[in-house]
């Protein structure tokens, strides 16, 4: 058993919790951007609330990462793959923080109130009311969502590649069979 070779328990809990929320958010978001159906309103309410949850969790996770650094990738991986992995993880963190802020900011610029969990919390505006800025941020929210979804797919593909093809313990370091050494 070597704990330093797998992710800490808080890291794994945060990872899988956010994995579920972010995937749900991406699907709900792309549905909200097209639907005229009766589920629009409750899904939008959920989308705002989960978005702020992602922002809070991402900040908690960033702090957690400094307390419990991730295990190193296997030595034999070529530097280009290690660099790619590092860059994609930085981008994932950046988007986990940027997406909720862009969403919150675009609603502020569009003059929309930002209630969470029904009407229980009303968030303040973080940007001045400016329709042109609202239109720009609304487009940015879409573009960044596509970028995030592409990265998530890449991340899942890479994880499965490690788990099923290379079988090098990288996938296991984030699953419940942790404690299993990377080989």
């Amino acid at each position: 058993m070597s704990c330093e070779k797998s992710f800490s328990l808080p890291s794994r809990v945060l990872h899988w919790l956010m994995a579920v929320i972010i995937l749900a958010m991406l699907f709900i978001g792309v549905f909200l951007a097209s639907t005229v159906g009766p589920d629009y309103n409750w899904l939008l309410t959920l989308h705002r609330s989960l978005g702020i949850a992602v922002l809070v969790l991402a900040l908690v996770r960033l702090a957690n990462r400094f307390c419990f650094p991730p295990p190193p990738l296997p030595d034999e991986l070529p530097p280009i793959i290690k660099t790619g992995a590092r860059a994609s993880h930085i981008l994932l963190y950046a988007l986990m923080i940027a997406m909720p802020l862009v969403g919150w900011g675009m609603l502020s610029a569009g003059g929309y109130p930002v209630p969470l969990w029904g009407q229980s919390v009303l968030l303040p505006s973080i940007l001045p009311h400016d329709p042109a800025l609202w239109a720009w941020l609304r487009s940015a929210h879409t573009l960044l969502a596509f970028l995030l979804f592409g990265l998530v797919l890449l991340h899942i593909g890479a994880a499965l590649f490690h788990g099923l093809i290379r079988r090098d313990g990288v996938l296991q370091s984030m699953t419940w069979q942790a404690g299993h050494d990377r080989k």
Binding site: L23, V30, L32, G37, L44, L77, W134, G157, I165, K183
Partner: protein, 365 residues
């Protein structure tokens, strides 16, 4: 540690498993966004259908495009407070309001006419940042029941390129396919027409739920009923902006008032269908008075950079199950994003608040 190749050999099944999960997610994503279901009604399709009736002018609302901004306030009288916890209804509570009067239709330069549908949209700015926005029309009921019917009605009303007028065969086909909308169409066609914006009654059409302090929900509809006297519409007027000029003159000469009349659903009323009127003998509550004191151009006006999304509601008012509400909210947001990224031309009606402008002055005095 044994060195392993970067890509070791593995069975086809394992490779399939690596590829299938992201692929399945990507397909699900495309489905959720409506890209693989061409028959699904989307926000873009509804806007395209509106654009087929009257093409979209850059920078303007995609419907109710011709309008002016107004400001004023609403004073509650406490009569609706037992049904709704919203502070706006409290006795003596004065809530600032920004609003907009407009004509239905996609052109901001259309000529005013007595029978065109007029609208009043309001944004009540409650204390602590809560808001209530409502877009009301001067028709007795909504012509359709669902977003799909709305879309089909737009397509049936689009002008024939040869004549520039709606094709009667399309309109008849829509009527024949939707016999349950016949009553609504008749009520709208035969509604009494008032002389202008000031003496008109504007209705929510869609139903909402009032939520009391103790959580009790009551289905309601509301209307703004003019306090000033009502005159019937006169005949043809040459001035293409006469409705807006009169409204401007009226507001600049004296404050205009409307009573907010809340209708409580009776046991036989259909709540989630805006094409069906409610019983005549339903309980009605006079909930307070709207006072409109200033009028101004849409250009840079306080009503332009927002959307009158009917689902922006304060505590004490909640949506009903009316399917048109969600569709309005969704399509308004997309329309708002589209027009906000465009550069508009100057609007047709540009009164200057407090003083008659060159345009608003015009022929009338």
């Amino acid at each position: 540690m044994a060195m392993k190749p970067v890509v070791p050999s593995a069975s086809a099944l394992r490779w399939f498993a690596v590829v299938v999960a992201p692929t399945a997610l990507a397909l699900g994503f495309l489905w959720a966004g409506g890209w693989v279901s061409p028959h699904r009604l989307t926000q873009r399709r509804v806007l395209a259908s509106l654009g087929a009736v009257d093409w979209a002018r850059p920078g303007f609302r995609r419907n109710h495009a011709k309008g002016v901004c107004v400001t004023g306030s609403f004073e509650g009288n406490g009569n609706a407070s037992p049904l709704s916890a919203a502070s706006v209804f409290r006795r003596g509570q004065r809530t600032p309001v920004t609003g907009r009067f407009a004509l239905a239709g996609g052109s901001p330069f259309q000529a005013d006419a007595p029978s065109k549908v007029r609208s009043m949209a309001l944004r009540f700015m409650l204390p602590d940042g809560q808001e209530w926005r409502t877009g009301m029309n001067d028709i007795p009921v909504f012509p359709v029941r669902t977003p799909q019917e709305f879309n089909d009605l737009q397509l049936a009303s689009q002008p024939d390129p040869a004549t520039g007028k709606p094709d009667p065969t399309r309109a008849n086909a829509f009527r024949a396919a939707h016999p349950w909308l016949k009553t609504a169409a008749g009520q709208i066609a035969h509604r009494p027409l008032s002389s202008g914006f000031a003496d008109d009654t504007y209705r929510s059409l869609d139903s909402f739920m009032f939520v009391a302090e103790n959580g009790t929900k009551t289905a309601v509809r509301w209307a703004m009923v003019p306090v000033q006297g009502v005159a019937p519409a006169a005949g043809y007027v040459e001035d293409p902006n006469y409705l807006f000029r009169r409204l401007t003159d009226d507001i600049q000469s004296r404050a205009l008032r409307w009573r907010l009349v809340v209708t409580v659903a009776g046991s036989r009323d259909v709540i989630d269908d805006a094409s069906q009127g409610w019983a005549e003998d339903d309980r009605q509550i006079d909930a307070g008075t709207l006072t409109v004191t200033t009028v101004g151009s849409e250009e840079g006006g306080p009503c332009t950079g927002i959307t009158f999304d009917p689902l922006i509601l304060p505590q004490g008012i909640a949506p009903s199950g009316d399917p048109v509400l969600s569709a309005r909210s969704a399509v308004y947001m997309r329309s708002f994003a589209a027009r906000s990224g465009e550069k508009p031309a100057a609007p047709a009606v540009s009164p200057v608040s407090g003083a008659a402008s060159g345009d608003a002055e015009g022929k009338q005095s």
